[in-house]
Symmetry: C2
Subunit: 324 residues, 2 copies
């Protein structure tokens, strides 16, 4: 990128020029009637309904520049928004991207962020429709995405439909992103680079959301704040109890022990956020391929692990235990 | 509001409880199939296409707590987003609202902000579909909205359709929000409380966007960064010149002189942002009622005022002249 030497900052370019640097990177696709550059975007909606969600990342709270590149941040921000669309059983069609940054932010960081968004949006089959640029106080940088999506005729899978007798099941991994964060915090990322990559660039198979919906999933979400906390959300919304099976998670925990030790491994699997694997409940006998049962839905309230009530739940956005 | 004493902060409530305080305030409306509280919202789209735009406000850059209440900020944020929908000729249907704030932010500010969003969303006929809450570094607070809308069968009015011979016309006021900011900066808001109100809570007749579209408007936007700068955007996108008529603005300028003086009055009318009045170009003879001609579209490039080339243009988001 010879046009963005490392010494230039956002303050060195006019907003118009910054948009010109950032926006043409985003290729349009079918269904984008109007892309970036006008007052709004215009997106064709085939099914007649649109899914909409938004998620924000803040420097120092959701990432550190020492640990994640701009491209990592762009990638992760796309994944956590598209995961929400997938968790409804939907398919992401378009993204609006907002960057609010200290004018002294290196221009290179912004172009790297854009590249990460572009790559991850492409992998999700989503177009970047537009966005917003804004300046922030010294040292502050935050990025935000709104994701739009469609259901392709399937019903949306909410959090409130789980019924006693359903199986609790997951598609994807548990605790790996959190274990990567533990390694970064300990200053030992080389212990397990694959876990650090899971923290920097979480991955999920978005199509599994629609597959679960068609298979009859009764409730679904993606694990953004930890298995127990997010399981508790299904329990509360559905008015049931979630029993997580201790044996079903033994392999997940054991796989992390060499890298982070037994106590942290257990914490990562049960309470680790940012994994974005899909967690759903299914009526008996309809588990789609690739999903594995990790518990059961029963009468009652709250979440238990191996039959014991759970207290430490995971991530609260305004609580005192926020990592830096 | 006995449930939100002034001494409580966001850190004093769990995110779940904060959502419970904020979200039920938003009444749903027809077309909102799934509102706040699940992974995403689901919005019915009648026309098959969805307009989407996003805009952010940052404490210290876009507002000061000494000058604007939380409700003022909520109101303004809604208006500037819905204005973008109107400027396409559309009607706003739904909003996603994001609050990223220092945990020491008074809870009262958040509930006031919510009340302002609620009131302004209601006035715009838009439902609040959901949003995001996130913590920010000490002293930092920002709010962001994504607005979704529909065209109701009309075509979208872009910025690039102005043709030589068209009239340049405006619906609404000029320079009043900027003049209100001048008074706040001078510490003399009592000079003209109506101008200060225009700064705190800009207003526009959203329906005029669709009216202009049906009348045949060839280009349109809302004035967010100043008449000359935003006029320049139409000129650039359309490949034409915008000639702003000096006489047509004489009354706008004269009306502000008593409050801010002649030089500031001229600057506010020509370069003042945040007014959100609709600026459009129309073929000869089709000006809808309530719109007034303020200039002409000719061959050429750029913007002139009374035939003279214009240099000072208005507001650039990363430039050095940002007010604080």
């Amino acid at each position: 990128m010879t046009d963005t030497p490392a010494t230039r900052t956002l303050a060195d370019v006019e907003e118009q020029d910054l948009l010109a640097i950032v926006l043409p990177r985003f290729s349009t696709r079918d269904g984008v009637l109007i892309g970036p550059g006008d007052d709004t975007a215009l997106l064709r909606v085939r099914s007649g309904d649109v899914l909409a969600t938004t998620d924000t990342m803040v420097l120092g709270r959701d990432w550190r520049d020492e640990w994640s590149s701009g491209a990592d941040v762009g990638h992760k921000l796309v994944v956590q928004n598209v995961a929400d669309i997938a968790a409804m059983g939907g398919r992401c069609t378009g993204l609006l991207v907002t960057l609010v940054a200290d004018p002294q932010t290196p221009l290179r960081w912004a172009t790297d962020f854009t590249a990460g968004v572009e790559e991850a949006a492409g992998a999700a089959g989503a177009a970047v429709l537009g966005g917003d640029l804004s300046s922030a106080p010294a040292g502050v940088r935050m990025v935000s995405i709104t994701a739009l999506g469609e259901l392709d005729g399937d019903r949306a899978v909410l959090r409130g439909g789980a019924r006693p007798g359903d199986a609790l099941a997951i598609h994807g991994t548990l605790g790996r992103a959190a274990a990567g964060l533990v390694l970064l915090e300990r200053g030992t990322p080389d212990e397990a680079p694959d876990l650090v990559l899971a923290q920097r660039r979480p991955r999920l198979d978005y199509a599994q959301g629609a597959i679960a919906a068609r298979a009859g999933a009764t409730a679904m979400l993606d694990i953004s704040d930890g298995l127990l906390r997010d399981g508790g959300r299904i329990a509360r919304a559905s008015g049931i109890r979630i029993d997580v099976d201790r044996d079903a998670l033994a392999g997940d925990i054991a796989a992390l022990v060499p890298a982070v030790g037994p106590e942290a491994a257990r914490g990562c699997v049960l309470a680790g956020g940012e994994e974005h694997s899909l967690l759903a409940t299914f009526p008996p006998g309809v588990l789609p391929p690739g999903w594995r049962a990790i518990g059961a839905v029963t009468e009652g309230t709250g979440v238990t692990f191996g039959g014991e009530a759970v207290t430490r739940l995971g991530w609260d956005h305004f609580g005192p235990a926020a990592p830096g």
